[in-house]
Amino acid sequence: MLGCYDFCGHYEWTFEWLRRQGGEPLVRAFWDEAIHKDSQQHATELIVREGIEGMKKYWGHTLVDEGAGFHTTATDKLFRIDMHDCPSKGFLLRNHLEQYRDYCDHCMGWIGPLLKRAGYVIDHQHDHRGHCWWEMRRADDPTPPSAIGAASGEHDVRLRPDWKPVDTYQRATDPDDKA
């Protein structure tokens, strides 16, 4: 049986299997069709219907279930996640699992299209070491990303002494929209 305990391991293996079958377009289609529109349909329904309130409900529940070390910040215009210990990437790092070239892209791969559908854009950075931050704002809100510490104070992942971002997204909704 395929289990949920080591899900992140066989999920990551599956990205590379799909890439071998149909290249990167098939991996992107998987994140959009299978994860955004099918697996995470509960998140899609909640966030499209309730916006930032829906994000608070969804990520408040799911990140706790997954055992993440994280902090969220919400105003009526912004939803921000500071991820200090990604349970998913952390599992892969601890178990030395790396088949696909950039596991972290999968989050933008399903969250990006979801947020686009809900009318939001994303500013985001990740470091491939289990740390990242996300800021979601309405697409018609031109506010730039917050300065370090301005939105989430001491919880801002960018204050970590080991913070070295690898990928940056600005007002993005597509996994290939790296700045």
């Binding site: 049986m1 080591d6 999920y11 099918d38 697996s39 599992f91 601890r94």
Partner: protein, 171 residues
């Protein structure tokens, strides 16, 4: 304590059990691959996943024999939330009496459309993992409860009859 008892699972997490919503993603992955590559493509995915990702499990079974098979499944189901499974080791086999399949139960609770051939994955994945270690598996039942029996290849019964594996339904 033996090595088997210490490390029955090849990949370890910091939390004792998985997040059950990941069953939604497993079911969605099967549906995506079925739609793109058909039933044979999905079976090939399961087989290659068993051979490659679960290669450390095969190696442990080869080293520890039926004791290793039983230790693995006992630890596996302890980490799957909602599972009710009895693992029994006999001289010539290991039997998994799956009274409540945690995946099917959670998919039903979430009112998800379950891929009808969902339960076949236990055969194809199990067989691909077992074969390199000299074992084979037979699956009977499904759709929420089943019996899976792992035998040494030398004492295997007739080949798996796929019609003995039930189609999964949402209720």
């Amino acid at each position: 304590m033996s090595e088997v008892a210490q490390t029955p699972l090849p990949y370890r997490d910091t939390k004792p059990a998985g997040a059950p919503d990941f069953y939604f993603a497993i079911n969605a992955t099967f549906r995506f691959i079925l739609k793109r590559f058909g039933r044979e493509g999905l079976r090939r995915y399961w087989t290659e996943l068993g051979r490659e990702y679960f290669a450390p499990v095969s190696a442990a079974w080869q080293q520890h024999g039926l004791k290793g098979v039983a230790a693995y499944w006992d630890a596996f189901f302890k980490a799957e939330p909602g599972a009710d499974v009895q693992v029994t080791q006999a001289a010539d086999r290991v039997v998994l009496d799956v009274k409540t399949c945690p995946a099917i139960a959670h998919l039903r609770k979430g009112k998800r459309e379950i891929v009808s051939c969902f339960c076949e994955h236990c055969y194809f994945l199990g067989e691909a993992t077992a074969a390199p270690a000299g074992f084979t598996v037979r699956v009977e039942g499904g759709n929420g409860s089943c019996r899976q029996t792992f035998y040494p290849v030398a004492s295997a019964p007739a080949p798996q009859d796929l019609s003995r594996i039930k189609e999964a339904t949402a209720c």
